[in-house]
């Protein structure tokens, strides 16, 4: 695989604090992938579907998605990604505060790859992010471009 075709992380998260914490923990877990942060769904979708360097035009990516966004529901973003021909293989990690079973079920039904409840317990959150780091190193092997 191409070394500069590393997986870009697209983080869609409206809470700046959460975004910072997630980033810190990702970095602390030893993951140096590029992180693109979007505060709302519209700009994130615009990047995902239309940006020249975005995932739909080549760059392999992983999406970290918060379900509570100011302008739209995270599930509709998930739906759009998973229904798009080019993007539907992009792994999506749903990261949200809801631990409602129905909500989780719905996300998996829509094709989310991992669902992580944002725990307030910081240690386990950090653990989860580290796990995500492992996950990221695994998916670095099959590039989204290879299909």
């Amino acid at each position: 695989m191409n070394s500069h075709q590393s997986v870009g992380i697209v983080m869609i998260e409206d809470d700046a604090g959460h975004a910072r914490l997630i980033e810190k923990n990702i970095r602390r877990a030893g993951i140096s992938n590029d992180i693109k942060h979007f505060l709302d769904g519209t700009s994130a979708l615009d990047y995902l579907f239309n940006d020249a360097g975005g995932p739909s035009h080549g760059g392999p990516a992983l999406v970290l998605l918060d379900l509570n966004l100011p302008d739209m529901s995270g599930t509709s973003i998930l739906e759009k990604i998973k229904q798009d021909e080019k993007l539907h293989r992009t792994p999506v990690v749903v990261l949200t505060t809801t631990d409602d079973k129905v909500e989780i079920q719905r996300c998996y039904d829509l094709g989310c790859n991992v669902y992580i409840t944002k725990p307030v317990n910081y240690e386990s959150f950090a653990d989860a992010i580290r796990q995500l780091g492992l996950f990221l190193s695994v998916i670095q092997v099959p590039s989204a471009e290879e299909q």
């Binding site: 809470d15 604090g17 914490l21 810190k24 509570n68 944002k118 317990n121 910081y122 240690e123």
Partner: protein, 498 residues
Amino acid sequence: MPDKVRQRYEKIGRRRVLALLGVGLALLFIAITAAILTMGSISRDTDAVERTLQRQASIDSLATSNEQISAGRRGFLLQPDPAFTRTVRQASSDFEGEQKRLSDLLDSRAQKDRLEEIRNLNSDRTVIIDRMFADPNRAFLDARGLDFNVDNGVLITQDIREIAKEMSAFEEAELARRNRAQLQSLVQFYVVGGIAFLLLIAVLVSAVIVVLRYNRDLAKAQVSLRDANLGLEEAVQSRTSELMRANEEIQRFAYIVSHDLRSPLVNVLGFTSELDEARKTIHSHLAALYAENPDLRDEETWLAVDEDLPEALGFIRTSTEKMDRLINSILELSRQGRRKLQPEVLDMEELTENIVASLHQRAEDAGSDIQVHSIPDVESDRIAVEQIVQNLIENAIKYLSPQRPGEIRVEGSSAVGTVRVDVIDNGRGIAPEDHERIFELFRRAGTQDQEGEGLGLANVRALAYRLGGTIEVESELDQGARFRLSLPAKFVAQEAVT
């Protein structure tokens, strides 16, 4: 209209009609009695009139015979013809016969006296006449110089005539009196009867009016009752749906609030950890620095990093964690409130036994014994009922009295349309002033030596209400407790009309 008022109303109406009918009956009785009495008096008067007429006839024929005797005697004296003798004898016989008949007919003392007088006079006359017939010549001669105005026979005849006239007048007066009495009786009859009849009609009319008015009022009351009922049903329906909507709104609100509250908490806790990480860095740096250069050691700085900061961070963390638990509890409650209930027939004994089995270890550790007695089946939502029963039994295990081994009984009974499940323990009990408090969210009672957020019973009560039931507690401090769950035997879902 409340039942009591209606009953009283009916009673008044009934009493009034009964009183009127009683008055009518009394009037009818009076009228009939008056008629009977009047009839009696009239027939008595009629009899008396008849007798008076008979007496009058008798007196008249007595007077006639008197005149015949007198005329016969006078004729004989003028001309001693045997024909006159016959006439006189015949008349005398008639007179005596009539006298006897009249004597039977008379009943007045005065009249009887008069008749007696007549009888005496007639006897005297008979003596005179007999003498005359015995010696006709002498009588004839005597008669020549006789002044009829002083003749005994003539005088007797005149006297008898007078007395007879008196008697006749008396009887006439009697007749008039009787006739008057008869008339009076009749008038009396008509007056009494008429009044009674009029009163009777009045009573009947008022009874009919009372009944009609009563019926009309009753009909009116029924109409208003029906209206009220209809209105009530509508009101209840609209209130129920309003309440349902409000309840749903609260559930949604609780959900959103608790959900959104978690977001900032993630930050607080996350950055608390970041702070701690930073502190650790500073701490180790300072430790190394002081180890190398003891002169630089500043006790205050060291204390801040080594004690004050970790203490403050620890408080922030525990408080935030507690807050998170509370928010999670609300979230859980609201989630349960949103869950759709699915009623099914529950074998309550099996359900309870399963819960007891799952709590077996905890019960054993606490040194308590749990017994399940007969519980009737219920048609309700399984998860909700399980949660309630589990919570109650857990509480019983949790709050045992340290002074005695725990004995927990789960008993069932059924009343009309309701199944009761009693969870009875001999534990530490709850003071009566806390009976309401323990069912409130985040409120607890008694010695706080057990973990908990004050959520269990709040949840139990919310669930019981949702299932259309109630939860009650009977307890005294240190006297054990009895929690009674009452559930409708058959749960009927009531969803809001939206």
